[in-house]
């Protein structure tokens, strides 16, 4: 009798394990060598000037069968800003913009993902200059492949924008020297853990 109860419990546990869908997907590390985090701001209402961050890290929890469960965590080193102009980069690191000495990290953590096919509408909290604000962007899975070591690679491409003034980065907004709106382009290759 006792054995029968134990057998039932064991069978139920095994059944539960195989029948309940996996809530979280696989975890992928962002490969910084094959990824880009770009931004652009409009100069005196004319051209959009692009720059990039050279140092960042993060993970994406992704399940192809359930993209809405995707979770994204990214940390960017503010001091790694690069606009192909050393003098401008120094100014961008200064308290006029990113204040990189006081706030060395910019972080993003997703809070909600809505998916339609391979296209995800990601909402999350961006923390920059000591302030956290919601930011949304469109993220698309761009492809899958195998790396040189046989590792699984998945690519994503995202585009969005934010208002830098909401983070207290107000330099140059008045009189239209540099736009409040900053465009973001994120193209990452991730490696399955």
């Amino acid at each position: 009798m006792i054995l029968s109860h134990r057998l039932k419990a064991l069978l139920l546990a095994v059944f539960a394990m195989v029948s309940v869908p996996v809530v979280s997907g696989d975890t992928y590390d962002i490969d910084p060598y094959h990824s880009s985090v770009l931004f652009a701001a409009q100069h005196f209402g004319a051209g959009w000037n692009y720059g990039r961050f050279n140092e960042f890290e993060g993970t994406i929890e992704y399940d192809a069968s359930n993209p809405a469960a995707t979770k994204i965590n990214v940390t960017i080193k503010a001091g790694s800003i690069d606009t192909a102009n050393a003098k401008r980069d120094k100014h961008l690191r200064s308290p006029d913009f990113f204040n990189a000495a006081q706030f060395p990290k910019i972080t993003f953590k997703s809070t909600k993902v809505e998916a339609k096919g391979d296209v995800m509408h990601v909402t999350g909290e961006l923390t920059m200059l000591g302030k956290s604000n919601p930011v949304s962007f469109k993220l698309t899975k761009t492809g899958e492949g195998k790396g040189m070591q046989g590792e699984t690679l998945v690519g994503f491409h995202g585009e969005g924008s934010l208002k830098r003034g909401e983070f207290g980065m107000n330099y140059g907004i008045a009189k239209g020297a540099l736009s409040d709106e900053v465009k973001l382009v994120i193209s990452v290759e991730t490696v399955k853990k």
Partner: protein
């Protein structure tokens, strides 16, 4: 987005960092000096200190916005340091040496802690933090002790010395990294300029330890910002930081008997030397990239 207007941008900067602080500092010092309460008569440097504080704060907040308190950005602390300096030095009666020393230690401790807190807590090892705090604190306290001793209270040229020191802090920051930090130091220079103008019409205006504390707290914080947050070349910051020590020249024999123009020529003519060296150094080592 607001339509781009480069000329308007420059005029806006000039008004907020130069005209407004000068007017507010001058009007405050004049009105307090001329019509202020009699209780101020025995502490006449408080009149000038109040003018400098309000003029500086008006320009600073016009430029940077009236931000939250306590400030999130370390670079937004200087007006509060100046306010703390006024409160502490009115309270302690800085005429007495040990009271002044205690006030200077308290003030500099507060300024260093709040200005450098992000670095102390997140970036520096304990030994590095101790070294910086001890070194910076010693120099800062020394300036607070030297100025009232060397400059006295009734030298009309004093505000010009303040203008020169603040202009140096402003220019090294602007030339080597941050316009906003440089402009903020520029407001301090303009406010001191307002005091100079008022002294021309109010000969009773005095410039004692309270004024020195208000000025040196804000000015020192500007140099800390330039050094640690703007990445200004350390040599340029050190040269600017050396300028207040030229006040000791006023203790030369019989210097106090000299006419104002002669004292001013000595004080300004010598203290401008490190400033000029800093500017030349920055120009020579400047990255020639253009991006504005």
């Amino acid at each position: 987005m607001e339509e781009s207007n480069p000329t308007g941008m420059v005029l806006d900067m000039v008004f907020k960092s130069a005209v407004l602080p000068l007017l507010v500092a001058g009007a405050t010092a004049f009105l307090l000096g001329k019509f202020g309460p009699r209780s101020l008569a025995s502490r006449r440097d408080v009149t000038a200190a109040s003018g400098l504080l309000l003029g500086f704060a008006a320009g600073f907040f016009a430029l940077n916005g009236l931000t939250e308190f306590p400030p999130i950005l370390a670079t937004n602390w200087p007006p509060y340091f100046a306010l703390a300096a006024l409160a502490i030095f009115v309270w302690i009666k800085p005429e007495r040496f040990w009271f002044r020393f205690g006030g200077a230690v308290l003030l500099v401790g507060l300024c260093l802690w709040f200005n450098l807190r992000p670095l102390i807590e997140n970036s520096w090892e304990t030994g590095t933090a101790a070294m910086w705090l001890a070194g910076l604190g010693s120099v800062w306290i020394a300036t607070l002790m030297i100025w009232p001793f060397a400059l006295g209270e009734d030298q009309a040229e004093q505000p010009l010395f303040l203008v020169l020191c603040a202009t140096a802090a402003s220019l090294v920051a602007v030339m080597d990294g941050s316009v906003s930090v440089g402009q903020s130091a520029g407001t301090l220079a303009s406010a001191a300029g307002g005091l100079f103008l008022v002294r021309l019409v109010l000969p009773d205006l005095r410039f004692g330890g309270t004024l020195h504390a208000v000025f040196l707290s804000a000015w020192g914080a500007m140099l800390l910002n330039a050094q640690f947050y703007v990445e200004v070349a350390p040599l340029a910051v050190a040269l600017a930081a050396a300028m207040p020590f030229f006040a000791l020249l006023m203790k030369l024999p019989r210097a106090n008997d000299w006419p104002a123009w002669k004292r001013a020529a000595l004080l300004l003519g010598t203290s401008v030397i490190p400033f000029v060296i800093a500017v030349v150094y920055l120009i020579q080592n400047q990255n020639k990239d253009y991006y504005y």
